[in-house]
Symmetry: C2
Subunit: 426 residues, 2 copies
C-alpha cells in the first residue's frame, strides 16, 4: 500500500494490448502507473506469423515499452518477471526477490500454448506466441529446405519438405498460407537438387471446418483458397502423438520434420498467484467488473481472464483486451476520484479477420462478410493502422509492397540456435 499523502499506485503486469491500453487510459488520472513486463517490448502478435515465415523482422512488429510510455509522466516501466501476488500486503513478488507495492493491480499476462496435457510435444511442435518462437519457427522452416537440398534419401527429403500445422484458427490458416507462398513463390528458384514447389503443407483441424469463429461460407471460401495454394486441409482429425519424426492424427501417420502448434492457448499462471478459480484453460473467473472474487483491488484482463457475456465467452483477441484495459482504467479513475463506479464491462465485437495469402482474406463483421482481394486490402490497412509508431507502419507497408511486387521474402535469415536441435537433427 502506498504511504499516506502519496498518489495511489496502479501496478500493471504485462505490456500486451490489455496492459498498455490500461496504462495509456490512466495518463490523466491522479495515480502513479508502473508497468512490469519480463520483455522490454510490446509485441504486435497479429503479425507474428509473418516474422515466422520470413516476411517481416522482429523489430517491425515489436516496440520498446519505454518508448511507448516515455512521454506519459505518471508512468514508469520495469523489466522484471512476476512470480506471485501477496494480496494481503498488496504486493507483487518478482523472481529476483523484489516486492512491488500496489493499491490497484491489473494482471494482463496473456496466454501461452496449450498441448492439452501433452507438454512433451512442445520441442517438436512449437507454438507462436513470442518473438523467440517466431525466429525458431523461421529457422526450422528454412533449415528443412536446406537439409532437403543436402540429402540423397528420397523418403527423408519428402519428410523434410512436409510441413504440418495443427489447428486451423486464424493463426494456423495464416501460417499455412504463408508457408505455401514461401515454398511455391519466394524459394522456388533458389535450390538445385530440390524444387521447393513440391513442398507438402498439411493443415490439421479437429473441428469439421476451419476458422470455426467465422461464418461457414467464409470457412469454405478460405479452405478452397488454401487448397488452390496447394495446402492439404485435414478436418475432423485429432492429433494423438508428436515426435521428432512426425505426428499421428486420428490414426493416420504423417512423416514431417516441421510441426507448428496453433491448436490451443492456456492462460499464464495468474490464477495460481491469486489462488483464484480458473476455467479449464487456466483463465481466471472474474466478476462483471473484471475484478477477482475476494480480491477487490485486483483486475484480470485479456487472455488471462475468462469473461462471459450473453452466455458466450469474450474471445481472446486484441480488441477485447484493449477494451478491457480501458474499462479497468475507467473503474480505477472513478474510484480514486470518488465518482460513481461504472457499470459492468461490456465487450463490443467488431469482427473477425484472417488472411489466407496473397490477395485473399476473410472478414466477418457479423452482418457483413467479405472474402477475397478487398478483404485482404482491408486486413492490410487495419493491421498497419494498429501498429505503433510511424516508423513501424512505414517499414511494414514497404516490405509488404516489395514482397507483393517481387514475390520474395526479405527476412530469410537462419540465426540463433534451436534448443531441440539435438533431438531433431539425426
Amino acid at each position: 500500500m502506498s504511504p499516506p499523502n502519496s498518489r495511489p499506485q496502479v501496478l500493471i503486469v504485462g505490456a500486451g494490448f490489455g496492459g498498455l491500453s490500461a496504462a495509456r487510459a490512466l495518463a490523466a488520472a491522479p495515480v502513479d502507473v508502473t508497468v512490469v513486463d519480463r520483455r522490454n517490448f510490446h509485441l504486435f502478435q497479429p503479425l507474428l506469423y509473418q516474422v515466422a515465415t520470413a516476411g517481416l523482422n522482429p523489430s517491425d512488429v515489436a516496440w520498446p515499452v519505454r518508448s511507448i510510455l516515455s512521454r506519459q509522466a505518471n508512468a514508469r516501466v520495469l523489466l522484471g518477471e512476476v512470480c506471485g501476488v501477496d494480496s494481503q500486503r498488496r504486493e507483487v513478488l518478482l523472481n529476483d526477490g523484489r516486492r512491488l507495492p500496489y493499491d490497484w493491480l491489473i494482471l494482463a499476462t496473456g496466454a501461452t500454448h496449450n498441448y492439452f496435457g501433452n507438454d512433451q510435444w512442445a520441442p517438436f511442435a512449437p507454438g507462436l506466441k513470442r518473438i523467440d518462437d517466431a525466429t525458431l519457427i523461421r529457422r526450422r522452416i528454412l533449415l528443412a529446405f536446406e537439409r532437403a537440398e543436402n540429402t540423397d534419401d528420397p523418403a527423408e527429403r519428402r519428410r523434410l519438405m512436409t510441413f504440418a500445422i495443427v489447428g486451423a484458427g486464424p493463426t494456423g490458416v495464416e501460417l499455412a498460407g504463408a508457408i505455401a507462398e514461401l515454398a511455391k513463390k519466394a524459394l522456388a528458384a533458389d535450390f538445385r537438387a530440390i524444387d521447393p514447389r513440391d513442398a507438402r503443407i498439411v493443415l490439421i483441424e479437429g473441428a469439421p471446418r476451419i476458422l470455426a469463429a467465422f461464418a461457414p461460407t467464409l470457412s469454405q471460401f478460405a479452405q478452397r483458397a488454401l487448397q488452390r495454394m496447394g495446402v492439404e486441409v485435414w478436418l475432423d482429425r485429432h492429433v494423438s502423438d508428436c515426435d521428432a519424426q512426425g505426428l499421428t492424427a486420428s490414426g493416420e501417420r504423417l512423416e514431417t520434420a516441421t510441426i507448428l502448434w496453433a491448436a490451443g492457448v492456456a492462460a499464464s499462471p495468474a490464477a495460481r498467484w491469486l489462488n483464484a478459480q480458473a476455467d479449464r484453460a487456466g483463465r481466471v473467473q472474474v466478476q462483471p467488473d473484471l475484478t477477482v472474487p475476494e480480491h477487490g483491488h485486483v483486475f484480470v484482463i485479456g487472455d488471462t481472464a475468462a469473461v462471459t457475456q450473453d452466455g458466450k465467452p469474450v474471445p481472446g483477441i486484441a480488441p477485447a483486451a484493449k477494451q478491457a484495459g480501458r474499462y479497468v482504467a475507467r473503474v480505477i479513475r472513478a474510484a480514486v476520484q470518488g465518482a460513481p463506479r461504472p457499470g459492468p464491462f461490456r465487450y463490443r465485437h467488431y469482427g473477425n479477420l484472417a488472411t489466407v495469402g496473397r490477395n485473399t482474406a476473410v472478414i466477418d463483421f457479423g452482418r457483413m462478410r467479405l472474402a477475397g482481394f478487398f478483404a485482404w486490402m482491408l486486413w492490410g490497412v487495419a493491421h498497419v493502422y494498429f501498429l505503433i509508431g510511424a516508423r513501424n507502419r512505414l517499414l511494414v507497408a514497404l516490405q509488404w509492397l516489395f514482397d507483393y511486387v517481387s514475390f520474395s521474402r526479405g527476412a530469410r535469415l537462419i540465426v540463433g540456435s534451436d534448443p531441440a536441435s539435438a533431438q531433431r537433427m539425426p
Copy 2:
C-alpha cells in the same frame, strides 16, 4: 576430382565478400561453382555495429546466399560446415561426414576475434563478427540500462552504466560513437530512476592514437569528435584482464558490466586444414597468385590470407577481399580455357572510411582526406550503394532517415538468451 567429360568443379568455402565475388566472376566460365557456408546468408559486416547498437535489423545487413546466386545457372549453394581439406584426393570434408570434390578450391572463410591468448575473456568481452554477436551485444547494452534502472546500489548502477570498448580501429570507434548516441539521445527520456545521459563510454586503445590506419590529422579529428560526444579515449593502454565485473588496462581498474572486444582478429582455421604456413594471426601465407605453396589448386583469399604488397600487408577489408575473389576467378577462367595465366595479384587501395557518429565521419583516400559532415554523407551513400538488393538499400536508407530526424533507434529489442548470463547476472 570431377569425372571425365564433366565441367571443372570450383568449390568456394565461405560466402563473404571474397567468396561471393569469386562466384559471381565465374558466372560465364565453363565451370560448375559450389558455394559452401555454415550460414545461409551473406553478411554486410561494415554495418554490423548498427545492428549491435539497435539502429538496424539483422536482415537489413544480411541477404540469403541462395537469393544472390539463384539466377547464376552454373552455381549452387550448400549449407554446411567445413572441417578439413584432403588435398591429395581434392576433397573438402564437412562435419556431417560428407565429402565435396573439387578441381579448384577457394578458401574464403574470414576471420574471428583474437584475444591474444586470453580466450577465457570471450564470455565477458564479445567481439563483433557475426549476426549472433550483434544481437548478443545489443542485448547486453540494453539490459545494462534496464538493470541500472532496477538497482538501488549507486556503485552497481555506475558499473552498469559504464561501457568499455577495447580497440580503436574503425569498428571500435563506430561502436563507441553509436553507444554514446544511443545513451545520450535515443534512450535519454525513457527511464525514471536513471538518466542514460550519465552513461560512461570508454574507448581503450593500445597504440598512441585511434584509427591507426588513417592519417594522424584524421585520428585527431575523430578523437575530438568522440570526446565531444562524451566518449573517454584511453590511449597507450593495454588490457591485462577482463572478468564479469570489469577490466584492467595498464594497471588501472575499470568497473564495467559491458566490455566489447574490437582489438584483434584471428583467421579461421584454413591453415590448419591445409597444414600450411601461417602468420601470427593464423593467416595462410600465400604466393603472389594467391595459391598455397604445394597446393596449386587451392586459393586462399580475404581475411584468411596473409598477402604482402610493396612490403606492406594488404588490409583485411571488404574491397581487398572482393578484388582477390575477382582475381582468382580470372586465374581459374584462364586455366580452364587454356589462356595465359594472369600476372600476380595487385591490390588497389581506394581508401579508409570510418564513421564516428551523427554528421561525422573520416575518409582517408591517401591524397585526399575528408572529415565531418560531407565525409559522413559519402560514407552513408557508399554503404547503401554496396548493400545487396534494392530492398535492403531502401530499408536501410529509410531507417537511417527516421533515426536521423527523430534521434531514436527502432531496433531496440532484447531477444534470445545470453550463454554467459549465469556469470554476468549476480
